[in-house]
């Protein structure tokens, strides 16, 4: 009986040691990025100028496909009062007040 318990204790100790070693080796850390940064620097395109950015309109949102049931819920929600908060209006032209 004592022998059995000693064996179990030894096995537990071995598992604990193995866990400690594995933690110190950090198996779960992200893959090395040693190669990526070099590629990224080479492949990085020139940053677009803000003016160009402003000219490109944002892509239109994809059309929302709704089932008739979903559509009914939306219609009913509108009928019970649309309580979403409107975004802030753009500030009025600066005026000395």
């Amino acid at each position: 009986m004592l022998k059995k318990m000693l064996w179990i204790a030894a096995a537990c100790a071995a598992i604990l040691v193995a866990l400690a070693v594995s933690r110190s080796l950090k198996f779960d850390r992200p893959a090395e990025k040693a190669v990526e940064p070099a590629l990224a620097v080479e492949a990085a395109p020139a940053a677009p100028t803000p003016a160009l950015k402003a000219e490109v309109p944002p892509p239109p949102p994809p059309p929302v496909e709704r089932t008739p049931e979903d559509q009914q819920v939306q219609d009913d929600a509108a009928a019970t009062g649309m309580t979403t908060i409107e975004p802030e209006e753009p500030p009025s032209p600066a005026a000395k007040q």
Binding site: Q74, D76, T80, M82, E86, A95, Q97
Partner: protein, 509 residues
């Protein structure tokens, strides 16, 4: 059948007052001087408690003189008050010249106009203590003077004024709708279509061109041009219009549909103005999980994370037994509820039926409960025939109204669904019960099923109370962006407009 009606609610209020009375007298007794060492004097000799002295009103806040730039901002905003359904002449001082130069008296009048505008656009033109009893959705009192002084001192008058109206998309949609319907009115509105035989697909009727023109005024998808034959595109436009007016969308134009189409444009503008006023009574933000009811359209929606996840038809109170506007929180779901009949409903409806058909009460599951020294009470047993159906959703309110199931499912097929005694009957109560009890380890769908096999009444308390808002909207933007209107079944639009002086003054809004 209905539930606790408003008359029952009044009784409930009386009972509540009766229950509170001892507390009030208890306070009074505590406020009285206690003669500790002396023998107890006779009750009558106790001096009356001094009447409570109201605190003195705070001193008026003096608004500093506006700079010329501030005055210009103020005048621009006040002159545009009609965008919010308000009347600019109520706020803009008289006789202001085009360049905005103001005399000292006009300066004072402008400051006064700003304070009144800020009050009206934020909480509406009625003070909270002027609300009728059934309009329990009320804003907190608001005196804008201090905020105005601060905004002037910090040089952000425009930003402050912009922040005052409700920020809800429902309000913004009405504001857009108001501008659009005023434009329609400015272009001459629409012409009345004379009554006559039904017009439907294939009909040849001299009124069809007028019908096309009428529909095209409001509906951007409809075309005004076309012949006298009722064709498919016209039928589709009629269906869209019937949906906008909450009518049966059958595409057939009878006199009922014509009555809605023939409402004058001014009436629609006033409806929008009345509903914008109601939006100002709403709290500044809404809880993300809530049940919202529109008694004007008889619709219920459950919101989760501020998104609608479930909706259903409802039956709300009939004119005379109007469902009150209120805010509360559902605290429990009663499965297999009995119906304690309000005495008014018993006297008006049930006892006469018993007299006309003896045994009516017993046949319909009513129990007569004797009351010492008073009229006996009626209680309908739980079960399939109970007027409350299988589910009741309880929330505190002074009117004893709640949401509940009903055995009369036919009422949901109607398009005008104001028929109850004041409670809100639900088309899909089981679905709402499951949604509200979701995550409850005891009240799983299976457990609800087992409970429904019998008639035993149980109360399932919600782990987290769910706010409920019972509102009254007769004009709103649909999910299609178009303005939708209902018939003002309680006549509360007219009452509101009279109370804020829009109809009494006959002012064109």
């Amino acid at each position: 059948m209905g539930a606790y009606g408003l008359r029952g609610g009044r009784i409930g209020r009386c009972l509540a007052l009766a229950a509170l009375a001892p507390l009030a007298f208890g306070d009074l007794a505590l406020a009285q001087p206690q003669p500790a060492a002396k023998p107890s004097p006779p009750v009558l000799s106790i001096p009356p408690a001094p009447a409570p002295v109201p605190p003195p009103p705070p001193p008026p806040i003096e608004i500093p003189a506006l700079t010329p730039a501030q005055a210009q901002v103020a005048l621009n905003v006040l002159r545009a008050a009609d965008l919010h359904g308000l009347q600019p002449k109520s706020y803009v001082p008289e006789g202001v010249s085009a360049d905005g130069a103001l005399s000292p008296a006009q300066q004072a009048a402008l400051a006064d106009g700003l304070v009144r505008y800020a009050h009206d656009v934020r909480i509406g033109r009625m003070d909270p203590d002027q609300f009728p009893e059934l309009w329990q959705v009320r804003p907190a009192a608001y005196d804008p003077s201090a905020d105005l002084v601060k905004a002037l001192a910090e040089g952000r008058l425009q930003a402050w004024l912009d922040s005052l109206p409700p920020r809800y998309s429902g309000y913004a949609a009405l504001k857009r709708g108001l501008a659009r319907y005023r434009e329609i009115a400015a272009r001459g509105g629409w012409k009345t279509i004379i009554e006559g035989p039904k017009m439907e697909l294939g009909s040849r009727d001299p009124r069809v061109p007028a019908l096309r023109a009428r529909l095209a005024v409001e509906d951007p998808q409809a075309t005004a041009a076309g012949g006298p034959v009722f064709d498919k595109p016209l039928q589709a436009a009629v269906v869209r219009a019937q949906k906008r007016y909450g009518l049966k969308p059958d595409g057939v134009v009878g006199n009922g549909t014509l009555a809605y189409l023939n409402q004058p444009i001014g009436q629609r503008v006033l409806q929008i103005v009345a509903n914008m006023e109601r939006w100002r009574w709403m709290p500044p933000t809404m809880p993300v999980t809530r049940v919202q009811v529109n008694t004007g359209a008889a619709i219920v929606t459950l919101f989760r994370d501020d998104r609608p996840v479930m909706s259903m038809k409802a039956v709300s109170g009939k004119p005379g037994d109007e469902t009150p506007m209120l805010m509360s929180a559902i605290h429990s779901v009663v499965i297999n509820p009995p119906w304690n009949v309000p005495s008014g409903i018993a006297q008006r409806e049930l006892w006469p039926k018993e007299k006309a058909n003896p045994g009516y009460l017993a046949r319909n599951g009513y129990r007569i409960i004797p009351v010492e020294g008073g009229q006996p009470r009626l209680q309908q047993a739980s079960g399939d025939q109970s007027a409350l159906g299988r589910f009741k959703f309880d929330f505190d309110n002074p009117f004893a109204v709640y949401l509940h199931d009903t055995p009369s499912k036919g009422g949901f097929d109607l398009y005008a669904r104001q028929a109850s005694h004041g409670c809100v009957r639900l088309e899909k109560p089981r679905a709402l019960a499951e949604a509200l009890l979701e995550g409850d380890a005891t009240w799983t769908p299976d457990a609800i099923d087992r409970q429904l096999e019998g008639d035993k009444t149980v109360r399932a308390r919600l782990a987290t109370q769910v706010p409920v808002f019972i509102l009254y909207w007769t004009a709103f933007a649909g999910s299609d962006g178009q303005m939708h209107f209902r018939s003002d079944p309680y006549n509360w639009d007219r009452e509101l407009l009279q109370r804020v002086g829009v109809l009494a003054t006959g002012t064109k809004v």
